[in-house]
Symmetry: C2
Subunit: 214 residues, 2 copies
DNA sequence: TACTATCCGATAGCTATACTCTCCATTGTG
DNA sequence: CACAATGGAGAGTATAGCTATCGGATAGTA
């Protein structure tokens, strides 16, 4: 076990905790008190740390998505499981019909089930936006929908490039979880870029420099 | 005070807590034990609930962004403040140069300061992605960067449509915080759409229906 | 066989966050 | 003037995510 701890940099106490919570599969034990860990365990632990750390999942949510990787279900179900684990559970009564209509209008032509967690989450954002007295003057929702479509196509292409159910299922989870974080980072960078292109004086954060490929 | 509580549906104990934490400005008191709250207080409280609830900010982060709305700084600084409050504080030593190079390549031509929190956050995602044994086969990073640019342009247009520093500053904060949640919801919806367009059998979540504008 | 070191597993404890409750002097109101 | 309500301050609570300790068992060594 402390082999695992040493390799991963995770304290043994934490590893034991993850095992208890069902995040990490039980060790293949060779004796009542002796266990063996292989590269699969190391990889799994790394996945856990990524989901909890960068992805900010809760222990329970991480356990759910990991379970859906391990189940033999087709990849499409893993997708659903990942989405459910990542979103808090809303139903239609948590959002106004108006907000749903706005979301549906922004996603016209999309084939999305009414209970899709993303649809409901987006509607709640629309509600919140309205409650704060903000209005969508410049087609913000529509343009976000276009951006989201771009990202989703990239996601699906990335998944399709993997071969084998297990590799695909893992990419589904990793892509879904890390995708949020990646986009959020890139959007902030893009905000600075767009903003500096429109306003003469850049924010005080030191030197801004045009970015050539390294 | 319980006027405020009634209107907002927030318990008075919680309101008092927010005041203590500096989220809510002190009441304009008319007597040592009697205070008056106006519509500004109601609006502020709603903003707080939105930041904490939908935006999932911590109390401390919310206090920071709210402070930057109230300061008289130009809107560009509010942008920076919002970004800093939303990102955990990374510096270049937290990510590999390789990951930074990949991020910079995906954002070629963008004018972004090296310390931009988004740039570093994106690099950390790239690192994590690699550590999990995933490779960017289908131009995932580049395509996310394109999507992020779209979103950032929408953000800036939306902000530009507001008049007055205070309205703009509030839209900066609201847009930056809610934008992450909105995109994440729309991306999940788009994933289902794209996925159902590519695979014959949809996931079991009941009826999927093509979506006509309401 | 004795000794030591390690390991597993279970339990209890710790820390941070986001509230929530209790107390109490003050005070508007009838 | 009685009296419920108010504002402010500090302590208390619930949950999440670890972390530390203890007890029993076993492998390695001599």
């Amino acid at each position: 076990m402390s082999e695992l701890s040493a390799v991963s940099g995770t304290p043994t106490a934490t590893i034991k905790f993850y095992q208890r919570e069902g995040l990490l599969p039980p060790s293949d034990k060779t004796a009542p008190n002796q266990a063996d860990y292989g590269p699969a365990h190391v990889a799994r632990l790394q996945l856990i740390r990524a989901l909890l750390g960068v992805g900010k999942l809760s222990i329970a949510a991480a356990a759910e998505v990991i379970g859906s990787i391990d189940s033999a279900e087709p990849v499409l179900y893993t997708f659903e499981a990942a989405q459910n684990a990542l979103s808090e559970h809303l139903d239609e009564s948590d959002v106004t019909p108006d907000a749903l209509a706005i979301v549906d209008a922004a996603t016209t032509g999309w084939r999305v089930s009414p209970g899709n967690p993303g649809r409901l989450a987006a509607a709640r954002v629309v509600d919140t936006f309205g409650a704060l007295g903000q209005a969508d003057e410049a087609g913000w929702f529509d343009r976000y929908a276009a951006a989201a479509l771009l990202a989703a196509e990239a996601d699906l292409d990335e998944i399709a490039s993997r071969s084998g159910r297990d590799a695909q299922a893992e990419t589904v989870v990793v892509g879904t979880v890390l995708g949020d974080a990646l986009f959020s980072g890139l959007r902030r960078a893009a905000q600075e870029h767009v903003s500096s292109g429109r306003h003469p004086a850049p924010p005080h954060a030191a030197s801004t420099r045009p970015n050539g490929a390294s």
